[in-house]
């Protein structure tokens, strides 16, 4: 198979905006993806959920765009768009027919330059309500819904910026004011804190001219406060456990581990290990827990790459009815520990590499994915060329690398175990009502 090769230019405007442009004329489509180097890790106590609430505010209009008009203009142009917020960053993106690229660039520039001209209390209150409903539907009203937030609490100490959830708390969302929005905007939404990737059926010289025109005069903020030291001991030091009673019919274990940061070759080895452990029906955990011993309803294991001190490796297994949850936990952990004790087989490695190669080629087919990755690697690792090296790094991972990283990461003194159990009748008034009725 041909290794992916994404050619791109990588420049900085005088105001610090990093512009990455990659030309590909296969389809008449262009993708814009702008990453701001600000995420929920930049939030301070009492202001959790703010980076994400702010992302919603970015769609409420700016100096020359009315409320909801951003969506209307992009969709009428035949495009799609959205924004996402995560621990390390916030991003905004549009994919448009290529003749509509200038519109997407203008929209991003207008809100970077003039967001505050349009913001008012009514729009902030409205989006606060929307975000509170997002929290309810994505976490609070969903079985097992808060598992990741609990994992964060166990994996990171209270003073660490990864300790609190990106969605924030209801109290902090209620407390967010227009002044908070303005201060956040002035501090972080500046060209020198952003990477703009443009990929697809575009003329790079024309892109540069448009970006100079629309973004070139937006002032930098030379006083972005540096993040505190986020470094952490590589392992937790002792296993951390919690039993959670929830309205669920089947018990489920969630496992979490501190892991090497994104960009560390050991992180690549961990991704390959995750494929061997739980990537599909040929994987170790699926075969043993679901297929052979039939003690779990489903299994998963994956890594979430982060840069602030540690990444997260996480797993889960849903316990079949009538099976002792402790047995499922023991077998799951046995498989993780076995990975650190003995090398994976040649055949497992061959299969994992082949699958990862296909996944990577599939992902990179699309211009929006390429734009996202170029911005990601530039923002998090200052290395957009990683887009062309990542597959090679996965394919270079050896059995010894996997064994080493498994031994370092997937060990009991670095482990969080959350066990969700069906709530007992005395666990909540709500439960009493339901059984009584």
């Amino acid at each position: 198979m041909t290794a992916p090769s994404v050619r791109f230019t990588d420049e900085r405007l005088a105001n610090g905006l990093r512009l990455i442009v990659s030309e590909d004329h296969l389809a008449p489509v262009a993708a814009v993806n702008i990453w701001y180097n600000v995420g929920s890790k930049h939030e301070v106590p009492g202001k959790t959920g703010f980076a994400h609430l702010f992302e919603h505010v970015m769609f409420q209009g700016s100096g020359h765009v009315a409320k909801a008009e951003h969506m209307a203009l992009v969709q009428s142009a035949g495009g799609t768009m959205n924004g996402t917020t995560w621990l390390d960053r916030t991003n905004y993106f549009e994919t448009v027919p290529s003749h509509q690229l200038e519109l997407a660039l203008w929209l991003e520039a207008d809100r970077m330059a003039t967001l505050m001209d349009a913001l008012n209390q009514e729009n902030l209150d409205n989006q606060r309500d929307v975000v509170k409903n997002e929290k309810r539907s994505s976490y609070d009203n969903r079985p097992y819904g808060d598992w990741f937030h609990k994992l964060q609490e166990h994996l990171f100490p209270p003073e660490h910026p990864y300790h609190h959830p990106t969605i924030g708390s209801m109290e902090d969302l209620d407390a967010a004011s227009l002044e908070d929005v303005a201060a956040f905007f002035r501090t972080y939404y500046t060209p020198n804190n952003a990477v703009l990737a443009v990929v697809g059926d575009v003329d790079p010289a024309q892109v540069r001219a448009w970006v100079d025109r629309y973004f070139g005069e937006i002032p930098a903020n030379l006083a972005i406060p540096p993040l505190g030291d986020m470094s952490l001991p590589t392992v937790l030091g002792a296993e951390s456990r919690e039993v959670v009673e929830d309205r669920v019919p089947l018990p489920r274990h969630f496992f979490g581990f501190r892991a090497p940061v994104l960009g560390d070759p050991r992180y690549d080895a961990l991704e390959v290990a995750a494929q061997i452990l739980a990537g599909g029906k040929g994987s170790r955990l699926y075969r043993r827990l679901v297929r052979d011993e039939q003690i779990a309803q489903d299994v998963a294991f994956f890594a979430l790459g982060l840069i602030g001190g540690a990444s997260i490796a996480a797993g889960q297994a849903t316990v079949r009815p009538g099976v002792d949850p402790a047995l499922v936990e023991r077998v799951f952990e046995e498989e993780l520990e076995r990975l650190g004790r003995e090398p994976v087989t040649d055949d497992e490695l061959v299969r994992a590499r082949a699958l990862i190669e296909t996944f990577e080629l599939e992902a990179l087919q699309r211009v929006d994915e390429r734009a996202d990755r170029l911005s990601m690697y530039a923002t998090l690792l200052d290395d957009p060329e990683m887009i062309n090296r990542q597959l090679g790094r996965y394919l270079a991972v050896t059995a010894a690398d996997i064994q080493r990283v498994a031994a370092e990461v997937l060990r009991p003194d670095n482990r969080v175990v959350l066990t969700y159990m069906p709530a007992t009748e005395s666990a909540s008034g709500a439960k009493n009502e339901e059984t009584a009725a």
Binding site: M1, P4, L26, A27, V29, G63, M71, A72, Q75, S76, A77, G78, T80, T95, P97, H99, Q100, L101, E102, L103, W106, A109, A113, T114, N126, V130, N133, E134, R136, S137, S138, D140, N141, Y214, E217, E245, V248, P249, L250, P251, K281, G282, V290, Q297, R320, P321, T358, L361, E362, Q365, R366, M421, P422, T424, S428, A430, K431, E434, T435, A437
Partner: protein, 474 residues
């Protein structure tokens, strides 16, 4: 120029590059199997789907779930490759074979490097033709489905979908049943039942192989014929007969006046809502007017429902509405989750929007927004071979003409304000819809009763018998 001057002039679009849906070639093999090949140059991966028009809608009611379970069990080993050996062989090619069943079809699909297409198709054919359905694996998959049904009851979103379908269809329609089967039918799904379903699926006259990607130098029909040219009993003999499209499933409505079914889930912080009725099949003459109407009502980000319930009122993170078009009439529904206190106002506003789309003509600006979106986004939808192959599979499933996709944009452009209103009046029925909800009935019952949306039924179900665990935990 100042930044203000620069930003105050909106850019106008450039000249659009022409886009045509990729050209495809259709061949019918002697067995009756259709081969549809579409060249999408310079892509590293090829996408291949084998589609059979024999879906879950065909199965008898007492065997609900048999088709989906058959599809799942087809990954549990074949004569030549018992157990997980077939999965492993595919993985060595960097390929994952997926077998899926829907109401309309069974699909076996694979995505693989072009150089490995032949080898991947051989495995696909093996999996499709020769699964063994071992007793122990089928028993395990049945258990997994029964456990999944327990999870459905605990998950308000899945629970409301299941309740909504059961509410709007009569027992004569398969669409009221869970496609994966229920607590009564699943225990009946023995390996012999699955083998029977599998024999029906092996019908080349109802099957097509769609392959897309960089096919330069590949003689696709010959490659397909070599590995899939002779499945099915008496394939050649049957091929002489015309391949009639299977009959569309029944889709009778069980609702003839407004009703409300509220499933009590104490302490819920949101109410999951589905509002609607039996909708439309895919093959309807006013398909394109329906698409534009549904986009304005509940499809666009700035749809009427979104602007009202999300951007103005803040009742929800998102609300949508649309038609799930199948070979028979799938549901039309408004779908959302709202904070508990907003339950009744959210239903009122949703119903008001359903009446408004019928009673008042959409504006020219609304028509333009929906039309320009659907026309403009068309090329974006088909960036990858997998997406092109999926769309061509849809033509086969619904027996649509070859130019259906090439005509799509001009058909959308021909939609008028009048045809939208007619589509709304013909296909949206506020006088005979069901409002189905999962939420905290205690918190809203009085308000709901006073609102008088329709015959109200509040249902309290025991939480599922994950009983063993509950007792253990006590």
């Amino acid at each position: 120029m100042t930044l203000e001057q620069i930003l105050s002039s909106r850019p106008s679009p450039g000249k659009p590059r022409t886009y045509d849906f990729p050209h495809f070639e259709r061949t019918v093999l002697p067995s009756g199997l259709q081969v549809i090949a579409v060249d999408v140059p310079n892509r590293p991966l090829v996408s291949a789907n084998l589609i059979v028009r024999h879906g879950a809608a065909e199965e008898p009611p007492d065997l609900a779930g048999a088709t989906i379970l058959t599809a799942r069990a087809m990954s549990e080993g074949t004569q030549r490759f018992p157990g997980v050996e077939l999965i492993e062989a595919a993985e060595r090619l960097g390929a994952t074979l997926h077998v899926d069943a829907s109401w309309d079809v069974v699909t076996v699909s694979v995505e693989v490097a072009a150089s490995r297409l032949g080898a991947a198709l051989e495995l696909l054919a093996e999996q499709f033709e020769h699964p063994t359905f071992p007793d122990s694996d089928v028993a395990r998959l049945r258990e997994e489905r029964l456990n999944d049904l327990l999870q459905v009851k605990a998950d308000p979103r899945r629970r409301v979908d299941q309740a909504f379908n059961r509410t709007i269809y009569t027992a004569a329609s398969p669409y009221g049943r869970p496609a994966g089967g229920d607590e009564e039918s699943v225990p009946r799904l023995t390996p012999d039942v699955l083998r029977g379903i599998h024999r029906s699926v092996l019908d080349p006259r109802q099957a097509a192989v769609v392959i897309g990607g960089d096919l330069a130098g590949l003689r696709v029909p010959e490659i397909v014929e070599a590995v899939l040219g002779s499945f099915g009993e008496d394939a050649g003999a049957k091929a002489a007969l015309p391949a009639a499209l299977p009959k569309a499933p029944r889709s009778d409505s069980a609702v003839d006046h407004p009703i409300v079914r509220f499933y009590h889930r104490p302490g819920s912080v949101q109410t999951e809502l589905r509002i609607g009725h039996v909708g439309l099949a895919r093959r309807v003459p006013d398909f394109h007017s329906v698409q534009v109407m549904a986009a304005i009502l509940g499809g666009l980000f700035n749809s009427r429902l979104q602007m009202n319930l999300r951007e103005e009122k803040g009742y929800t993170y998102g609300i949508g509405a649309g038609f799930d078009m199948r070979r028979g009439a799938g549901p039309f529904s408004v779908r959302t989750a709202v904070q508990t206190a907003a339950t009744v106002p959210a239903i009122s506003e949703s119903l008001a929007e359903l009446r408004r789309i019928r009673e008042t003509a959409v504006t020219a600006a609304e028509l333009a927004a929906a039309r320009d979106y659907l026309v403009g986004v068309f090329p974006l939808r088909f960036e990858t071979p997998g997406a092109v192959v999926g769309a061509l599979g849809g033509l086969f499933v619904h027996d649509l003409p070859d130019d259906e996709l090439t005509r799509y944009r001009s058909e959308i452009e021909a939609v008028t304000i009048e045809s939208i209103q007619k589509a709304a009046q013909d296909h949206i029925h506020p006088d005979r819809l069901a409002i189905v909800a999962v939420g905290d009935a205690d918190a809203v019952a009085a308000e709901l009763t006073a609102a008088g949306f329709g015959d109200l039924e509040i249902i309290t179900e025991e939480l599922p018998a994950g009983a063993e665990e509950v007792e253990e935990a006590e």
